[in-house]
Symmetry: C2
Subunit: 94 residues, 2 copies
């Protein structure tokens, strides 16, 4: 899975307007907020199943109703199409 | 829920030998490693249910097979007996 080219970034990153590009990690990040822990962890469970099915997993953290997700492809040493696909699948949950 | 006294810390923290005391946050932390993401998230789901039942929630993060948990009591501005109880319940899962 190769790292995204400059042309692919120009095409794909604007399709994820809710995600921020972390240039230092070459990753994309998004913070989600929910009504409470129950809702936040319910969301995490749905993301976990997406991730397991795609065999591509987030780096993520949770505090009460907040979930922070960072996506990057360790094997590519940066963003790949797998991150874009997982971000879109996550966005479709909310 | 009051913050633990010095005497309570001397009594209770040694009962959690796998946990580290983060003096800056006045929190306790522990890192867990599992075979894979499936096992790590399965553990997180069990912890989430303990936390919800206790109405006391961790600050935590996950990367693949690793889960880092930090426990503190925001209302007490530091460690309370609720953190000790949740840590013991988490330890009993593994």
């Amino acid at each position: 899975m190769p790292k995204l080219t400059d042309a692919e970034r120009d095409e794909l990153l604007p399709t994820l307007p809710e995600w921020n590009h972390d240039a230092g990690r070459d990753a994309i990040t998004r913070t989600f907020r929910f009504a409470d822990f129950n809702a936040a962890f319910g969301f995490m469970t749905r993301v976990a199943m997406l991730a397991e099915k795609a065999d591509h997993h987030p780096e993520w953290s949770n505090v009460w109703n907040r979930v922070e997700i960072l996506l990057t492809t360790h094997d590519a040493n940066g963003l790949s199409r797998r991150d874009i696909a997982l971000a879109k699948a996550i966005d479709a949950l909310v």
